[in-house]
Each structure stands twice: as structure tokens, then as C-alpha cells.
């Protein structure tokens, strides 16, 4: 049975702790670059936390928003790829076939969320840091574009398990690394096709928004707005 995997991020719960960022690096074998390349903007945070300042001291506020690949239904990154490396899979994910990628950058240019990251170098892990690598996820080489996969390795593992047990994947059974690590339960993952799933119910919230809705990408990452302040100054 086809799924439509989606994520809800409740910005009223998100505290900007970045547990998701570290979890993503560990789970997905994301290479660190180094100080010099980080200064060139070549870090590869598949998920990162945007911080927006509002107002001026002392009436200042900071808002956090974790941004990852929005897994758009109408993804601008897909039709532009000349090698079909980025494509839409049957579960609705914007998948990336690393072996097809020739590094044209068209997808990264098309993505309004700048959620795609290019490997400028072959990744280096000073031994024995290579032992930390997750054997379930391939390591990407130089010249390849990469991005958040919704932890497709975890989705596939759950789907195989469910099939072996002759049942459907249960709601909450699949948790991408970021969702699993979130201490305030700000992130919820599940099947948007299933109206009874937690993610579907939350997506119907009055606070639900999507990032850059006006560009018409129909993202499957849905944000719940932070409640406004109770302050009555």
C-alpha cells in the first residue's frame, strides 16, 4: 500500500536545541567539512535551524524554524534534472539517486528552500572516526548532490518488517532520526494518506502553515505556528 510520508513541526514546541541536527549527521553519514569550507558555505546540514530576529532590544524575539527538504508534491528539483537523479518515488518522497547525479546543480538552483547540498570534496573521516558510519546509508562522493531523505532507510526497514508480518506499517512506527531525538516532541512523522494518523490530525490544525506556500510546491513538511506572546505590555 502506497504511503504519503509527511512531517509536522510544531514551532510552539521547538526550542532550537538542535538535537535533530546532530541526530541527522550521525544517522546519515553526513560529512563535516572544516572551518575554511564552512566559511565558504559548504557545510551539509540536511536539517538546520533557521533563526529569525524580530524587533529590537529590549522588545526582541527570536524565532526558530527547523528547515529540511520539504519533500514537495510538486517539487521544482525533479523536472530539471537531466539525468533523472532526483525523482518522485511511489511513497511521494523526493528521492535522489546518487549514482545518477552528475552535479549539474539544476536541482539546487530550483529548490526554493536551499535544502540541497553539494559534495565539493570526497568526505574524509580521520581514522577511527570512520567506524561511526551507519552501514545502512551510503557515503556520498565528490560531485554529488545530497539532501534529506526522510531517513528512507528507516522507512524501508519498517515497510519490510510490516510486509514480513503481513500488516501495514503502524502509525508512529517510522521515526526519522530527527523526530526520534526531539526532546519536546515538536516533530511528528507519519502517513498523510491515513486520516487517522497523528501527523494527519496535526496537519489539520488551525496553526498549520507551509513554507513559501505561494511558490506552489505543496510541501509535505507542515509547520504549526508558534503561539503569540501572552505579554500585554
Amino acid at each position: 500500500m502506497a504511503h504519503r510520508w509527511g512531517m509536522v513541526i510544531d514551532l510552539d514546541r521547538c526550542t532550537g536545541c538542535e538535537a535533530c541536527v546532530a541526530a541527522c549527521h550521525a544517522e546519515n553519514n553526513i560529512a563535516t567539512v572544516d572551518a575554511a569550507q564552512a566559511a565558504n558555505g559548504r557545510t551539509m546540514h540536511w536539517i538546520h535551524v533557521e533563526r529569525y530576529w524580530e524587533g529590537e532590544f529590549p522588545n526582541v524575539r527570536a524565532r526558530f524554524q527547523p528547515v529540511l527538504c520539504q519533500q514537495c508534491d510538486a517539487a521544482p528539483c525533479e523536472p530539471v534534472c537531466p539525468t533523472y537523479a532526483s525523482y518522485h518515488n511511489s511513497d511521494g518522497l523526493n528521492a535522489q539517486v546518487y549514482n545518477r547525479c552528475i552535479g549539474t546543480f539544476y536541482c539546487a538552483d530550483a529548490c526554493p528552500y536551499t535544502a540541497r547540498y553539494f559534495n565539493w570534496f570526497n568526505p574524509v573521516w580521520d581514522k577511527p572516526l570512520n567506524l561511526q558510519l551507519n552501514p545502512d546509508v551510503s557515503v556520498r562522493g565528490v560531485g554529488v548532490m545530497e539532501k534529506c531523505t526522510f531517513c528512507i532507510q528507516r522507512i524501508t526497514a519498517a515497510e519490510i518488517q510490516a510486509k514480513a508480518e503481513n500488516r501495514d506499517v503502524k502509525d508512529g512506527e517510522v521515526k526519522p532520526a530527527c523526530v526520534q531525538s526531539c526532546p519536546t516532541a515538536a516533530m511528528v512523522f507519519g502517513d498523510l494518506e491515513d486520516p487517522s494518523s497523528q501527523v494527519s490530525r496535526l496537519a489539520g490544525s488551525m496553526r498549520a502553515t507551509t513554507l513559501l506556500a505561494e511558490v506552489g510546491t505543496f510541501p509535505k513538511v507542515i509547520y504549526l505556528e508558534r503561539e503569540s506572546s501572552h505579554a500585554n505590555e
Binding site: D12, R13, T15, G16, C17, E18, A19, V21, A22, A23, A26, T32, D34, A35, A38, T43, H45, H48, E50, R51, Y52, E56, F57, P58, V60, R61, A62, R63, F64, Q65, Y113, T114, A115, D126, K127, P128, L129, N130, L131, Q132, L133, P135, A177, Q180, S181, C182, P183, T184, A185, A208, T209, T210, L211, L212, Y223, E227, S229, H230, A231, E233
Partner: protein, 762 residues
Amino acid sequence: MKRRTFLKLSTVGGAGAALAGCGEQTNQLIRFIPDETLVPGVATWRPGICTLCPAGCGLQVRIMEGDAEVIRNGQAGVVKMGLAKKLEGNPQHPVNHGTLCARGQAGLQVTFNPDRVRHPLKRVGPRGSGKFAEISWDEALQELLTHLSPLASPGSAHSMAFLAGPLRGQRRVLIERFLSAFGAAQFVPFELFDDSVLRAANQLSFGRDQLPTFDLAESNFVMSFGADFLGTWNSPMAQSVAYGIMRRNRPGARGKFVQVESRMSQTGANADEWIPAHPGTEGQLALGIAHIILSEHHRSPEAAGAAGSRIEGWHNGLPEYSPEAVAWKTGVPPQTIMRLAREMAVQTPAVAIVGGAPLAQTNGLFTALAINALNALLGGVGKPGGLQFTPRPPLPGHGSSETNSKGLTGTSVRSLAQHILSGQARTVESLLLYEANPVFATPATWHVKEALESVPFIASLGHFIDETSVLADLILPDHSYLESWMDDVPESGTTAAVVSVAPPAMHPLHNTRAMPDVLLDVAHRLGGRASQALPWKSYEEMLQAALAPLAHSPSSITASSPDDFWTKVKDQGGWWSAKGSAAPERESAAHAVPALKNEEAQFDGPAPGYPFYFLPYASQQFFDGRHANLPWMQELPEVLSTGMWGTWVEINPQTAATLKIEQGDLLEVASRHGSVRAPALLSPGIAPDVVAMPVGQGHVEYGRYASGRGANPIKILAPDVERTTGSLAWAGTRVSVAKAGTGELILLSGGPTKWSQERVRR
């Protein structure tokens, strides 16, 4: 790989197994036998204990089979072994409930760090030069015994000291027992952000020498004074889990959260109301709020009990702390003080939290006592939605002395340094060092480095070379915490009594030995008092013996025999009781200590020459600097600044404009005691008279990722301490700021920065 090389390597691996000579041969052999429980490609989960900060979260370690390149007896080989692949929170653990922060997850890079000490080392160059030669464990232990045996003989004129992080559980018991064999030995725990002021205050207010636990899940109003409780302070995972529930899990009720601080922290960014009070005036603000609650008769002064009696004028309604007087001192408008007081009195349960910078002032104890009194007045102490204490496990010898402030404030690194430098008769002849880096994390004016340099013999039992252990003559490297038997007794973060226990999650990668086993071995070889105090053959045996009495206490474990109990403890990752709030132990002699008068914070450096309050803060990436050698943390953008791989000076944009400072300009930040340089980061979340720097960078000797990067703000701090407890007043220094050139600021290159603020409803 060529077939020939492959065969050669396989043979070497086998030969290594046969030849592994030192230590217990059977243990050595086991390292080379593939883990039989492991199926290639299938993950196994084993319990663990996070040691990256003092919170004591429970871990779940993902183990998969892999090929590790190891060197044994000088020969390289590849062995198949179970390797830790990911760290996650233990879902059953009462502290973190299956969650784990960014630092905890990066703990994988502690075990696999390329800069770990891989075998015993002996100093060959001048002290501090970092020149060491590899020696065998037998040689290393012999060397250690040569230095320790004379000190163990009765009537020895010299003493020894054990300088370590504030260890808990059986590691602490072991070290104390070990030291009892020596005539004049002292345990010197050191931690920069040690919270001992708060423990001392809780002892005075509530009779509990312990950090508090907050039941935020049930709170309707949370006011935090400087505590980064969602980031780095106390038990951040436990507090974050509860915060999420407070905000959104209770239909119709969303707890309000107010943060008081002069520089917006990650925690403060989440507040509904952010109040920048002047540094060091947080206690006065709390008493200003209490004044309104009392004068408007929302509560009676008696409601606060002993905690109220600690404050002079409490029973007269705190006449000194009228809104106008407090507003003048704190910079918070009187209307705000009155409004907050009324909201707090009505929106119950309400709780006040204090931690971090407000307590790192010369008047830190006064501030903590004032906020404790406010909490007691609000009626939430020991109640749902309020301030509680984690019960202590029913173990003999697990009293307060073991976990808490007695040790911390008893012999501080500062008095140890003074003692050594004074050249008194019973000098410190030998120093053992373990997981503490005071040379990095104390002000230069404490002269810790100079003191340690004059100690005749230093042995380090840690697994990294840092600014302190580089001074060692001998390094006996520890296993990592994933390779050792671990135990912990969390001090806060839950209302269950917890003893965490975890067997090694993986075999050791290098030729290291666990610190507790080394001490047991040394005690055995010393004989006499030492071996009597520590009769156990291994740390595992000691742990099992220590936990045995718990089999009879009510908990989630039902066991049929002692062995069954031990197996279940190991599988679960520890022992814990059912949750229940531990009522504070009210002290009988509440009036034995005189009530505290209003006390102003004293800052080092006159305002004319040093116009800015200087705030070094616990870093989201590196905590107190110990994680600067983890590349994942170096490249984790600090969430408010998005800074990576460096240090910066946070300054208010208007102040910067006045001083003609632009983003990225190199600034020289100077106190009366020294200066550091770092690029300017213009941040609207900081008061115009405050500059802040994250702690953690500026290492000179901490491996390839940390060394020579950024600046260390701790070095320029004044030597001032909190007046009563003697704890470092790390937020009590004033500085000047001057432009010194062009700096480099590494910030996250942003995503959809402009657009995403214009979000559209679905």
C-alpha cells in the same frame, strides 16, 4: 585491497590475538573473537549512560558489526567487532525518556576520536611539551606504584590529591576508598559550571543539598532567572520533555514562560516574555515580586516557611523591595514587576528557576535564597508543577556527601593551587588527574597551571591529552564510556530514585584500561589498607555488590534471585523506583543562620575604564569546553548566532554603531587581568552594556579539531568568588572592548532567510 595484503592482515589479526600479552590474557583474547550475538547488518541495542554533562541521561547504543583497524603489540590488524553506530536516549530511563541532546549524540565521536590516547604514555620531553613515549601497562603501573607506595606508608610527610570531575555513584565511592589508604589525601572535584551555590542555597532553604527538579509538565507559569534550562543547565533533556508537555499537551492550558537574563539564551528565545534585568540583580527582582505578592495579600509570609526566614525583612513584607526601588536597581519597569507578581500569584502552579550567570556573581547565594523564598511563597515546593527533589536511592553510603556540594565546595581547585604554591610542609607530592581540565577552565589569576607544574608527580587516568593532562608525567588511558562498566546516580531531573548501570556496549578499541579497574589493581598491588578498602577484583564485581541491596526495594524490576536481579538491571540500564515527589527535608534549626541582608553584586573593573559586563556562557556545542574536540559539535551552528568553528563576541548593534564596530570586526576584549580577541557578532538579543562570549574554544592542547581555534573567555576573568561558598563568580567581571582589526566569523549560510518569514496559511 590486494589478495596478498588481505591475507597478511588476517594473519596479523590472528597473531595479535595469540600474542596479546599484557593484562589478563583471557580479556585480551575476547577482544578478537567476533561478537557471537551479532548478525552482520542487523543492529543490536545496548544500554549506556551519557557522561557528556552532569545530567546523567540513559542511553541506548546501536551496535552493528564492523571492521576495526587496531594495533596490538605493535602490529596492525583488522578485527571484526561490535561497534557503536548511534547514540539515542533510553526510552525507559526516568531522566530523559528516550531523548538525547546534540552533545550527547556527538558522544560517538568521543569513542572514535582520532586524538584519544591509545596506550600508556610516559613523559620524555620537558613538562608540558607534549612529548610522550609509549610504554607497556606493566611499566606504567610499576611507575605509578613507585610514586604512590611511599605516600601510603603511615606517617608519610607528603600527601596526594585526586583531581577529577564531580563523579557520582560507585566511581566516587571507589576514589574515596582509594584515597582513604593514604595519610593525607584529598579529593578535589572540579567543574566550571558546578552549581554549588544553588546546592548550598537549597540546603539552607529546603534542607536538601541537591540541585532541584522542576515539574514543568504541570506548571502554568514558569519564570526562569538566567537558567538555560532547555539548553545546558541542570537536566536539559528532562526539562525539555516537560516543557513540551507544559506548552502543548494539555488541551486549553498553555503554561506561560518568562525568562530574565541580559543576553538572550537558547532557552530565553522561547519565552513569552523576555526581561533583560541588569546582571546581578535577579535576586532583588525576585524579592520585588515577593513584595507585591505579600503586600497585596495573595500569600502570607509564613507560607514560605524556613526559606522565607533566610531573607531579612521577609516577615515584615520586604519593605526594602518596593517596585520603584527594585525597578531602579534592576532596570525592569515597576508596572512589569507588579504585573508579573499578580500573574504568578494567580496562575498556579507557578515556579521560579534560577541557574547560570545570576549565581556566578559575588552575591550568588543571596540571589538563590531570594528565588528559593519566592518559590516557597508560591507554594510549589514539593508539589506538582513546582520544585521537587530527586529521592536518593536506598543504598548505604549514598548519602548527600557523595553526590553533592560538600565535596565541591570543600576543597576547590583554587585552594589546592594556593596550598601548593604556598609551599607548606605537607606539600602535594603526587597528583592523580581524571576528567577535569582546570588549566583551561579557571581564570589565569588562579594560577592553577603554575601550581600543577610544581607538583613532583602527576598521573592522568583520562583518555585525552588536554591543557591539564599535558602536564602529566604518566598517562594511564581510560576506556571510553561506551567501552566501560558505567554507573551513575542522577542528582536531579526525575522524581524517581535512580541508579543507572550499564555494561560495556562495545569492546575497547585501543590498549586502554578502565579507570576503576586500574585503581582496584593499584590498590591490590599496594596491599595493606588500600587492598582492605577495595577488596573487589573488578569494577563489575564492586557494582554488583553495591547494588545487591536494591533487589529488596520496590522498583520496576521483579527478580527471582540475585543473579536474575543483576541481569535485569543490566538489561534495563539501571534500577529505578516508581515516580513520587521527595518532600523537602525541612531543617529543624531554621533560624540558626542569620537572615541575609540585601546584597549587591560586586564587579571587578571600574565602570569608567571597563564599561561592559562580561558574560561568558555555557556553549550549546561545547558546554564548558570539553566537547570542542568533537567535529560534529564544531560544525553545529550555535542556534542564535549560527556561528561554527570559532568564538565570537556578542554585542548590541546600537552599542556597536556607537563604537563604529561592524559585524566580523576583530575585537579585543580586555579585563583588568588579560585580554582575548574574537570577531564581533551583532546581536539584538543582548543588553547594550553587556558583551558575551561562548565558552569552549581557545584550546591550545586538545587534539586536532579543538587546538588553536577561537578564544577562551575564562582566562581573562577576575579571580573573584561567590562571597559565601567560594565558587568562581564567572559572571562578575567587567571589560572594555576595542576594535583590533578584521576577524573571521563563520556563520551558517542561510536558507530561505527572507521569504520564510512571510508564511501563508494553508
